[in-house]
């Protein structure tokens, strides 16, 4: 799944640690999501949506190439 997490984080001038702390996850989790190695759970994606004040579809996008 593609995502705009890195861009959104950079727009707010937040570090990975800061975002991780606000979401209650580890920095490694944020890094794995940003590098698209890990897709977050629905509750975490919704938390991100709430934090960035965006709907989930504006943050995450299905990668049509992947099955």
């Amino acid at each position: 799944m593609k995502n705009r997490l890195k861009v959104l984080r950079a727009e707010r001038d937040w570090s990975q640690e800061e975002l991780a702390r606000q979401l209650g996850v580890s920095r490694q989790t944020i890094n794995a999501i940003e590098t698209e190695k890990y897709d977050p759970s629905l509750p975490l994606a919704l938390k991100m949506g709430r934090l960035f004040q965006l709907c989930v579809e504006k943050i995450f996008e299905l990668d049509e190439k992947k099955p």
């Binding site: 209650g24 996850v25 794995a32 190695k37």
Partner: protein
Amino acid sequence: MLTPILHRKRKAAEAAAQAIKAAGGTIEQTRRVYGTRLLIRGLLWASIYLLSRGLLELTIPSSAARVAIALLPTPFFVYYLWTWMKGVSEMDELERRIELEALGFAFPAAIVFLMTIGLLDLAITLNPDDWSLHHVWLMMPLFYYAGLWRAKKRYQ
């Protein structure tokens, strides 16, 4: 009698976790706290295990005493396991997934290993000094750590 003690310990552990969160602690801090506990309790278990092994090497005639010595490390290992499970419950979703993948690797690897040892033992009768249950169980944590390394690498 044991239940109120365990209940008090659980409440104290929950209060400690809450205190970390209330103090603005991150999941990394919680991980460090559980990591330290796991290390201390793991060392305690390993020490008791080595002590039991050492005592069982001695010629103790009473079989009841030998059984008691053999069972001595078990509660310490259960305590260690309980700490590990508490630590997992404090992890975030990616860390839990890493743990799951590590166990998902370790469990089939252990089955394949034991099956192979069993068949080889039938084929050529392996030396029990090297391949008995006294030693072979040590491979199980190694499979877990190999799985953990593999899963961590995947999400780095």
